[in-house]
Symmetry: C2
Subunit: 203 residues, 2 copies
């Protein structure tokens, strides 16, 4: 089994934090975007879309998409549960994880790709789109702050996949989008301080 | 229990096809986007993001996000399985469903929102982004045609959630984005003919 990782990229990071929470060790090969390692024929044979992470099983079966990889490990190693413990909890974690993807992670990746110099010449950059997504991200951080009123975690009452996605999204927002959590977002700041203290936060 | 639907919208359509495949009947209230029914205080109390579909359980618990709603019903009514039958299959359906969302459904919704007259004055329209997503969609339809070589269905060897997402995305592409499946995409055309014949295709 091998996990293909992309240096500095948010989605593979989600899988690495997930694996660390489960105490699962998987051999990792880290590819370098700037060297174009995700576009070599060898890698494209594994994932023609050129996206990371990719998990290769021992029989050669390839799993793409971070959450598909995490769900595979959730069933192989159920404890601690990171997708919920009951039917309702599992639906709620799915809901909150998707909200964290659509309201935070996808917008911040758009801000990065459409406004950061790293992507000049690699992708068509549409600055107006990057700016629109930056505005959305600011609004959604305020929304999430309200949602966290009286809640310790984002999904159910336990650290789970939705927290991991939000954590990686906000780390990326602070880094490449220069959008740290505003000081007056008290609930989000408290949640951030708590999840950042976890030993797996640096996975 | 009640499902809030949005007239003509692709995401609620996914849930309706899913429920029809499972032969589950749920009372449905259809909101009208043009009347702004998704932005009333009553609806925003259920989902502050103003997005549809929303499932309200009998105890008032609210589930948002199409796939969270579908996963809830998958556990309540396991047959026929629409998210896979084994650990590996469930990971593969998750992977293919996400690919269908990110490579087809999200791009086609962007084309719609950023280029269609219906959205003038409702959302900031960035025409260049709509055009970039249209180009991506054309490329991804070609990619999916190649992936379907020798395959009857998109995910595993059975009609499942990934097929539902692709079906709704391509229906939307043909409709609002004026991008029908090109005739030389033989595999995609064959798959489309097959899924369109299902009695649930008009759900």
């Amino acid at each position: 089994m091998k996990l293909y990782d992309l240096k500095g990229a948010p989605n593979p990071r989600r899988v690495k934090i997930f694996l660390a929470e489960k105490r699962i060790k998987v051999p990792i090969e880290t590819l370098d975007l700037e060297a174009g390692a995700h576009l070599t024929p060898g890698f494209l044979a594994r994932n023609p879309l050129g996206k990371l992470p990719v998990l290769e099983l021992d029989d050669g079966t390839v799993l793409c998409e971070s959450v598909a990889i995490c769900r595979y490990f959730e069933e192989m190693v159920p404890e601690p549960p990171l997708f919920g413990r009951s039917t309702l909890e599992r639906a709620q974690v799915e809901m909150w994880n998707r909200r964290m993807e659509h309201e935070l992670l996808l917008p911040v990746i758009d801000v990065f790709v459409h406004t950061h110099p790293l992507w000049v010449g690699r992708r068509e950059q549409i600055a107006a789109w990057g700016e629109a997504q930056r505005k959305l991200l600011v609004e959604r951080m305020r929304w999430l702050d309200r949602e966290l009123e009286g809640k310790e975690f984002i999904g159910v009452q336990r650290y789970d996949m939705a927290d991991i996605t939000a954590q990686v999204a906000l780390l990326t927002a602070r880094g490449v989008a220069r959008l740290p959590i505003p000081d007056d977002h008290k609930n989000l700041t408290r949640w951030w301080a708590s999840v950042s203290k976890r030993p797996t936060a640096r996975a």
